[in-house]
Symmetry: C2
Subunit: 108 residues, 2 copies
DNA sequence: TCGTTCGTTCGACAGTCATCGAACGTTCGC
DNA sequence: GCGAACGTTCGATGACTGTCGAACGAACGA
């Protein structure tokens, strides 16, 4: 009945609050980089289950939280699923070219 | 008398061995990012002592080791001092624009 | 030769991290 | 209303991290 009150302790940074160190750290893990790559390829919202990852759902959930708290992506509920999308505009505004450069590098 | 046999356990990656995750992780620490920034500004070799860092020399040494092992910089002995330089060519070859993009982002 | 300078290494410590299984809460379809 | 599907949260665990002071080693200068 109540709206979901999960993630109440989660601190999602605004565009201005984005920290380079946090973003780089978020992107430095292979699983998370894979998530971001998949998301960039899709160029749209993707549900957790759609990610071909070699770790438990608990671990996946953890990585999404790290990415959210670093400001790399945004997550939204839709029924029982959760859809994710890159915060491209914010990232590009704050750190121009960073995301694209990292993505390009991650595919070489 | 013998040549220095320090750093014998240090694994410095070749250009081909550079790993994006390692580089991003190396750059995600504020102290290390500061080091890299200083080095990029100098555009030349810089000795450890030249870095205005708010940590102990032991910690500084540790950070340089991390940066070396990630392949971000190269260190060379000259007498009692140790000079450091960015591995720009290698980084640019393997991850085009990455270093410059991160440096630019770190100054905004 | 002796003391200083510069940097590395060691041992320790507190904190964070990636990972997992298990339990839980929501939502949806039957 | 029941059970399945989907994710989150919890607690635990082992690994890694950033930091420090202290001891060490090599090279330089007086």
């Amino acid at each position: 009945m109540m709206t979901r009150n999960l993630a109440i302790d989660e601190l999602v940074p605004t565009r201005e609050e984005l920290q380079l160190g946090d973003v780089l750290h978020a992107l430095s893990d292979p699983v998370r980089l894979q998530i971001v790559r998949t998301l960039a390829d899709a160029d749209a919202e993707v549900a957790c289950g759609q990610f071909p990852l070699a770790v438990t759902k608990a671990t996946v959930s953890h990585h999404f939280k790290v990415l959210r708290e670093a400001g790399v992506l945004f997550s939204r509920y839709e029924g029982t699923r959760r859809f994710h999308s890159l915060r491209r505009a914010d990232l590009d505004a704050r750190f121009p070219d960073l995301l694209d450069t990292v993505l390009r590098a991650s595919r070489s």
